[in-house]
Amino acid sequence: MKRLMLSLLLLAVAAPVLFAQQTLNVYTIMPEKYATKVFAAFTADTGIKVNFIRLSSGEALARIVAEKKNPQVDALWGGPADTYEAGILEGVFEQYKPREADAIPAKFRSAQNYWIGIGVIPLCFMSNAKFLKDKGLQPPTSWNDLLHPAYKGALQMADARTSGTATERIYTLVKIFGENEAFAYQKKLHQNIQLYTKSGAGGAMPIATGQAASGVFYIVDALDIQQQGYDVVISYPKEGVTYGVEAAGILKGARNLELAKKLMDWASSKRLGDVMMAEKINYIPTRPDVKVSNPALDMTQVKLIDTDIAWKGKNREAFVERFVNEVIQQ
């Protein structure tokens, strides 16, 4: 009997459960509530089922690199392009040029066809409307506005160690002020910080509910809060903002390579942009021929700063290091 118990145990412990399904497995960095809708449309169009799990960009890359010899998924969906650039250096992505890739401007896709852009998201300021009214403030329209003493202990923004939103913020500041000035600015800004959040959107809900006053976010997260009905104000700094390119790519050694290619073909088509517009997913489509229906995504009044994604990838680690050593530890 004991033997039976033990052999049962061994059996349970030793036999990995393997599935043989004709579905596509994906890690998504795009929030689950959007990914669910996007993949539902993809499944409706192609009949291919998508199994996915949502991870933060850092976690997704760490996993993909760790699983290099045994990829658990076929594709990575969403997440900033610099994450993909970092992954290319680790050799985890497969080259594939999707059918309609040429319709996407070159700055929104990998030159070596490792990834394509599926959406563009600029940074913005988001503030609690009631806070602004109570303090008699106008919505911030300059990076320097955030240094105002009225914001003391009332800003929430993301921590550069964990969040792509935070590194994007640093890229913007470096582009505007130059590197040393950018960190000097952040040291001053630190006096007004209530909390550095782990995720890029982490500060959005506290601002929405009045726990914090203002912060720097990707437009997609800020608009989401506004669409939920919270009384927040979105504004842009006159010095300008950089933007993130949300990407998608196939993993080297993908078990369902053909299905993954179909996903990329679909992502390169106009259809993806249309789905995102219809479902109120607030990315600016990378294809210029998608009609942008949401006025909040009209970027003609916003100063957008172009950045080279390779430059971002190259400097990320050094910037994060400086952020940890100079800004949060002072």
Binding site: L6, A12, K69, A154, K198, I225
Partner: protein, 570 residues
Amino acid sequence: MTAASASRIRRPSLALRDPALFFALVTLWLSLGLFIILPFLRLLQATFIKDGALTLANLVKVWGKAYNRRAFSGSIILATGVSLAGTLLAYLFALAVTRTHWPRWVRWLLSSITILPLISPPFTSSISLTLALGPNGMLLKALGLGELNFYGFWGTWLSETLTYFPVAFMVLAAILSAMDPNLDDAAFSLGASRRRMFWTVTVPLSMPGIANSLLLLFGSSLADFATPLILGGHKFPVLPTQAYLQITGMYDLRGGATLSVLLLLPALLVYGIQRWMIGRKSYVTVTGKSGARSNFATLPRGLEIAMVIVCGLVALFIAYLYFIILWGSAVRVWGVDNSFTMEHYAYVFTHGRKAITDTLKIGITSTVLGSLLAVVLGYLFQRFRFAGRKTMEFVSMLNYALPGTVVGIAYIIAFNEKPLLLTGTITILVAAYIFRYYATGIRSVMASLQQIDPSLEEASMSLGAGRVRTFMEVTVPLIIPAVLAGMRYLFIHSMTAISATIFLVSVRWTLLTTRILESMTELQFSQASAFSIVLIILVFIADIVMGWALRRSSLRFGTTQETSYDNTGA
């Protein structure tokens, strides 16, 4: 393996003399080797070996950063604070429940409310705490208070104390109710005042429990990563959170492994002291020889007043925190549209259904297999003398002594390559839970066997039953309460723990706790609340069923067995 083969060399007859034991030992060493020793060694390898050579370079690099040193001291300070405050609070609760003449329902309510933090996923209380006491928090506004210095040490400390004191409460309540009231009578008839009696009889007799709960809380706080992740902020780093950030934020598995190795030192120290203490004192058996059982003497008046205030406020506060979650799960948009809706629950039962069924499958599998294993191990450790027994006992509980983050990191390092390719399978999740949380089962089986006279088993064998039949028909029925106690603990943790498994979930197998974290990062507070409520209800139902079975089996077999929540290890 080594111990088993060594015993074979010294006593070549074991395989022949007792093939069942031999086979069991080999199998057990194999599984312990695979799921405890191997990951542990791979973790050390990732930390100390670079390019094939032994090196301290990783450690020096990590230690060289001031921020990491702050995380180390932060961990120690936090654990000390939580351990002291939690034990004090738990002692007051335990006194209130076991030693007062307060109405029965009040005491029942107090002890029930402490179950809530035990069965909740680790994030819930941090989140409602933020809403209550964070900047611009509801309770602060209601009380007209200004800003608290919430993010950092204080918030984390408060949240962890509330989360973990129930563990200490269980330990202390068990000790307090097992004391002999006749001692009070004796002290009283010798003319001692209430206060003197309390300080010279009750407190000294509680010392073993107090010491044990101090250590338990220290260990739990040391291992907790969820609370500081949400409440620690950048001002107050601790090691488990730093290790997690190093991996998920900086893509640095080696750095994360090294940071988690730093956690080993204090964790193993606590484990060592605990084992030393348990080894030193024998288990107190309720003998039933106390004659006429009188009541415990009344507590000093000042103390009782303090207890009314503290326990009342804390219980109310906990109830309030859970009410926030319940409310949040049923309003349309938190803070904007407070109309009632079930849409978040609808979401949970459609989009979250896979997480629910996966969690249940994993929880049940872990509980069943883990308890079987705990019975076998506990039986072996208690009833057999074989070479390497002490080593095996130590090894079998190693994962339990280590913080969850350490175990999780060790598992991804160890099981990511052929032939031990387990990432993405249910096996890796189940194994992580079993080998981490079966320790309570082993301990309670051992404690229970200690109270059962081996002569019962000898009688069965001398009547001609084999060892296996004796085990199944005599031993197992007698220890069923202990097994159930272990199962209850295993199940609760398999359903709610996150620190080890956050690294192990996959496209195929996902967990409710990670969905809760996910909903939080996606700003879906209401969904996170609904997921939490569903999880709490599932665990609560299972807990009631197992508690009921436990009481029934205790009555039937006439033994008593306290559920010993030895460690929570979020």
